[in-house]
Structures are given as C-alpha cells and as structure tokens.
Amino acid sequence: MNLTLRIWRQQGPETPGEMTEYRVSGISEDMSFLEMLDTLNEELILRGERPVAFDHDCREGICGACGMVINGQAHGPERTTTCQLHMRHFDDGDTIDVEPWRAGAFPVVRDLMVDRSALDRIIGSGGYVTAPTGSAPEAHATPVPKEAADLAFEHAECIGCGACVAACPNGSAMLFTAAKVVHLNVLPQGAPERASRVRNMVETMDAEGFGGCTNTGECATACPKGIPLTGIARLNREFLRS
C-alpha cells in the first residue's frame, strides 16, 4: 500500500506545531499502525530528519500508552488500541490524518506524545485500597457477589489510555474516573473508603482541568476496552450518595 500521512509535528510543549505531509510506500496490510509509523521513522532517520515521536510500550493492547487520533477518531477506525489497529482497515492511496490527544489536561510533549500524568494523579487521590499488603489473601476469605464481581471486572479493564478524554468534546475524564471508582466501590474491599474515594477522585479530576460530562457518549464509543457509558451514571450515584 502507498499512503499519504498528515502528521502533527511539534518540537516541544511551548513551540507551535503544524500538520506535515509525508508519503510512505510498501506498507503491508498486516502491519499495525505503529509498525507503519516505524517504517516512516526509519525513512526519516535515513534522510537525516527527526523521527515522529509517539508513545508505545506493550504493543499488545494492554498498557494504554499508544494513543493518537487517526482521522479524527481516538485510536482510529476500529475499536481497539492504535498498536492493535491493522493497516488492512485502510485502502491503498488513502490520506490519513494523525494528531495527538487534544485536551487542556494533556499538554503535548512532542509530536504525537502527550503528558497523561493527570490521570495518574486522579488514581493517586483514591484509585487504590488502603490495606496492609503481604502475600495474597485466600480467595474465599472475602466473598464477592457475582453481580459485583462482573461489574468490577468490566470496569477494571480500563487501561488508562485516555482515548475517552481525547474523544470527548469537553476533554472530560469522567469515563476514566468512573471506571476506577466503580471498579473499587462495588467490591467489599473498596467499601470502607467508598465515599472519600469518589469525592477525592472527582475533586482531583476537576482540579486537573478536565471538563465536565454532557452525556455526549463519544468516550464510550472510543474506549478500546468497552467501558460502558452507564458507568458514568454509577459514578454520579456514588458521588451524590457520598
């Protein structure tokens, strides 16, 4: 495949950036989107130009590092992470726009790389259970109802990629925060800190400059892990009852 790429290039956080056009050829449809970018970067290096900076780590859809907006969609046209997006979802001759996550709380570091540590600070303010650690407890020591376990698992799937924030017209982190709060608040282990957890995490979310939720639903559509929009309703309920 031969493709035209229009990629956001920005030297650093304070410098202005712009969309820059590149052509790549000989792309196999079995390549992932990141491998396609690797191909471009190898060419750029050979030409003596600065390669395109982007985040990635596991390349198997579990770490959440590889976010970028492809043709206006977070993680591109398929419901998966960018590293798991294959080039067969594009056609020969396509022009593809690649931009970084856009949100006030996610400053661009360079090119397609943004600083998502605001999400870490939300977690730091309550996304854990205060408990003595040690060896893992016996599995039957704390019984968990099936429905609660299913809910917790569903919400625990969040990999913190930030696609929800990038897709939201308000740059809101409600889906992310909902995933973290619901995951812990429905479990008996999370119950003692149920109220303070949701209050602290919502407060940090606001303080970090994320927007509010207008129930637009773009987040849940973009989420590679299928965190449901109704999780936000559950977060709201947890907040209001606290």
């Binding site: 229009r6 956001w8 985040d55 780590d57 770490c63 959440g64 590092a65 907006v69 043709n71 206006g72 969609q73 931009e99 856009r102 006030g104 400053p107 570091v109 360079r110 790389m113 943004v114 600083d115 998502r116 540590s117 999400l119 870490d120 600070r121 977690i123 730091g124 303010s125 913190g160 017209p169 308000n170 740059g171 809101s172 303070s196 602290n200 919502v202 407060e203 940090t204 606001d206 970090e208 400059g209 927007g211 509010g212 939720c213 207008t214 129930n215 773009e218 449901p228 929009l229 109704t230 936000i232 309703a233 559950r234 977060l235 709201n236 309920r237 947890e238 907040f239 209001l240 606290s242």
Partner: protein, 245 residues
Amino acid sequence: MVMASATRTNRTTRTPAPGRHPSSLASLWRSSVGKKAVMAVSGLVMLAYLVAHMLGNLKVFSGPDDINGYAHWLRTLGQPFLHYGWFLWLARLVLLAAVLAHGTAAYQLSRRDLKARPVKYVHQRQRATYATRTMRWGGVILGLFIVWHILDLTTLTVNPAAEEGHPYQNIVASFSTWYSGGIYCLAMLALGLHVRHGFWSAAQTLGANNPRRDRGLKLAANGLALLLTAGFLSVPVAVMAGLVR
C-alpha cells in the same frame, strides 16, 4: 495502569488529602458533578411544570369560558389557606429559582468544558445526535423565549389584545400575528430537542441509569419530547389554521 512516559515533574501535585470534606450544598456546587446534578434537578422541575402547563393549554380547545375559568381557578388554588393568587406566585418563585440555577450551572459548566479542550482537531467529525449538539444554543433560545413569552402572555406588554384575566382572547390575538406564532413554534421545536437529550441525560447525571434501563429511558425521553412539542404546538397551529378564534 497509566504510564505516561514523558512526565513533566515541575507540575505541583494537587491531590487533596483524603477524608476532609464538608458535606454541604456549597461543596456540591463547587464540583462539576454536583453542579451538573443541580442542572438536572432544576431541569426536571421545569419539565414537570411544562407537562402540567401543556395539559392546561389544551383547554383552549374547549372554549373561552373553560380556559378563562381555569386561569381564575389557578389563582384561587389553596384558598382559604393561601390568599388569592398566592399559589401562582409560589409556583413562579420555584420556577424562577429553577431557571436561574439551571442557566447559571449551564453557563459555568460550558465555560469549563470549552476551556478543557482548547485546541480543536484538524480532522473534524460529527457524531453526536443533533439534540445533543444543540443543548447549549437550544438552551439560549429557550431562555430568550421564556422572556418573550412572559412579556406576551403574562405581563401582556407585547400582546395585541392585552385583556387582563382573559387568556383565551390574548392567546388568539397573539398567535394571529405571524411573528408571535413563528417564535412560539420555533421555540417548541427547540424544547423538544432539549428534552430529548435532557431527560435521559438527567437520569444519567442523577445516577438513575443502568444498562437495563438505558433503552427505556431513551424511549421515554423521545416520547416526552414528542408529547410536549405536539401538545404545545397544537395551540398556535389551531389558531393560525382558524380552528380556534
């Protein structure tokens, strides 16, 4: 877990200390989630009022005596416990509070939302429904309409007939002008859109939604929006068609 590879360490941590939160209305209003809840509750209060208002309006079809009598009855409601007209003023007070709370929350939250997405995407795509995308401007239209509507049929300032105590005559006179009928019809379409997103959204905001209820709530929102819009529209349409005169 989140692993932002390039972390700027010069940012101060604003993590609040756990467990020191006064539980009050002020702290509710300060948080984006709480403010949104105020918006949802005030929206639902207005919505309940509008259902009653719409049903009352349909009395136009049973003639001048019926609706004029109904208007009088509204003022005697609660007597002798309340004085003449007090019930109506109480309702107006509640509605005024609801409109102010709703509008203020909408304004403050919208400002916050716009600031949270300072840079737009070069590659734009439109996906949310029309009703969702028009909540802000639709809300502004509704706010302006409320002002016009009060000047037209409550204070009678801009009403062509302006007969105090005779709503039937005032309604017919108002909707006999093209501009008043037009403004009213447009506003009711905006209302339908606002309610279509708003009712479901309020359920979501107040934590009443879950996967099992989601479809039902969306259907209810559409039904409610359709009912309100059709009910309110029937009056000006009937006047303009000459069925009510």
